[in-house]
């Protein structure tokens, strides 16, 4: 049975924790709004990009002039997984969800006898995956210092991927990130970057026969690297929004739990105080009676 003083101390410490989680929740809510805005603002670009891309891809067709980034190099022996997670924890199952998803994928690939290489974007995923696949991780991108993810960050990662592909370091590249469905739901998703999956959405047929300057193949080979960076950028933005959403609900839960705990502790504190008073009273009364 804890003493009155112990209970009091515990109540005070849980209250302090509650204050922190509450503040973190509010910070996450503010950041979530900003992240959502950023994701929204980036949407027109990626939409237009995929529209243009599917347009050109149709024009070029699947003949041999299509760039290697699009068709791949015809093998699928070595897989490169780019796993994007958050830099910070305390956001519920967000990071572990992505990491688990990636881990299952890696195991499946290894079981099939493929070679796997991993690039970790974000510290948390690296920490989790390192336990099991330390030897497979070839690179780790740290975005810890970055306050607001800009296109340059994504572009660097994109260039790195393309550089590795040109050196024949891998055959297939898949991006792992968390799709932001809503504040309470983030779904781990994969996206194949190389070979670029041909955009499947039906193109609104503009009926226009384009003139290409320079020719379509050349534009396409300029476009695809850009598209990879754009996809990475989109994934990073979705991740930030998802992280903040997850953090917000995790902190909301924590605040609520702390509240419940305080209620319980206060109840037992009061009960014990009452018991002590009663005990003292009995002592006084029985003392008086004995006289």
């Amino acid at each position: 049975m804890p003493s009155l003083k112990d209970l009091k101390n515990r109540i005070a410490s849980v209250k302090a924790t509650q204050k922190i989680t509450k503040a973190m929740k509010m910070v996450a809510a503010a950041k979530l709004r900003r992240a959502q805005e950023a994701a929204e603002a980036a949407r027109p670009y990626s939409q237009r990009m995929s529209a243009v891309l599917s347009n050109i891809a149709q024009a070029v067709g699947s003949d041999d002039s299509a760039p290697r980034l699009m068709t791949g190099n015809g093998r699928d022996q070595t897989h490169l997984l780019v796993v994007c997670t958050a830099e910070r924890g305390l956001c519920g199952g967000f990071n572990s969800q992505i990491a688990r998803f990636a881990r299952d994928h890696v195991r499946k690939l290894l079981a099939e006898g493929k070679t796997v290489k991993i690039i970790c974007v974000g510290k948390k995923g690296f920490d989790i995956l390192r336990r099991e696949f330390a030897s497979l991780i070839i690179e780790r991108v740290d975005l810890r210092e970055v306050k607001k993810i800009g296109f340059e960050n994504a572009d660097q990662i994109g260039k790195k991927i393309i550089g590795l592909f040109e050196k024949d370091e891998f055959d297939v590249c898949t991006l792992f990130y968390s799709e932001f469905k809503s504040v309470i739901s983030q779904v781990p998703t994969t996206l194949q970057l190389i070979p670029a999956a041909a955009p499947v959405e039906a193109v609104a047929d503009t009926g226009a026969i384009y003139e290409y300057e320079p020719d379509a193949g050349e534009i396409l080979s300029d476009l695809i690297p850009r598209n990879i960076s754009v996809q990475v950028f989109r994934a990073l933005l979705e991740n930030v929004a998802g992280e903040m959403g997850a953090k917000m609900s995790a902190m909301d839960n924590a605040t609520r739990n702390a509240g419940e705990m305080i209620n319980k502790l206060t109840l037992s504190y009061n009960r014990q105080r009452q018991a002590q008073i009663t005990k003292e009273l009995i002592e006084i009364i029985s003392g008086a009676e004995a006289l």
Binding site: I56, F151, T206, A208, E213, P214, E218, D222, R226
Partner: protein, 135 residues
């Protein structure tokens, strides 16, 4: 004069979307002026200045760093890798890019094809820098 819809989009946001009467685009194969009812064209662009003449005659300039343009008779979309209004452009930023390109050029590991690409990019950037000094 007929006007058309022009959109300038960077990966971070939609910079501009308005009715314009003419746009000058620094296409890779030379500058081109787009007006209403232009033939459908798709072109890559090099680092340079985009001049937009709005329907009300107001002229504004944007500095872009590569990208491509999708031109239709009814509108024109410019997807720029990075775009800044010319008044706000920071010359040190361009100089930094030039430095980065020079460094990349010194990297001997590249194939000839890549070298040429970086070299062209560098010349284009230097040219752009020259134009901006004149502003």
């Amino acid at each position: 004069m007929a006007d058309f819809n022009f959109e300038l989009v960077s990966p971070e946001r939609l910079l501009l979307s308005e009715r314009v009467s003419e746009v000058v685009i620094p296409a890779t194969e030379g500058e081109m002026t787009v007006m209403a009812n232009h033939a459908p064209t798709m072109t890559t662009i090099k680092p340079g200045v985009v001049t937009v003449k709005a329907a009300d005659g107001k002229v504004s300039r944007y500095v872009v760093f590569g990208g491509f343009a999708d031109i239709l008779p009814t509108g024109c979309t410019l997807l720029a890798e990075s775009a800044v209004p010319a008044e706000e452009v920071d010359r040190t930023l361009i100089e930094k890019r030039i430095e980065a390109a020079k460094l990349e050029l010194d990297d001997i590991a590249h194939s000839d094809e890549q070298r040429t690409r970086v070299e062209t990019f560098l010349t284009e950037l230097t040219q752009l820098n020259g134009i901006l000094v004149a502003f």
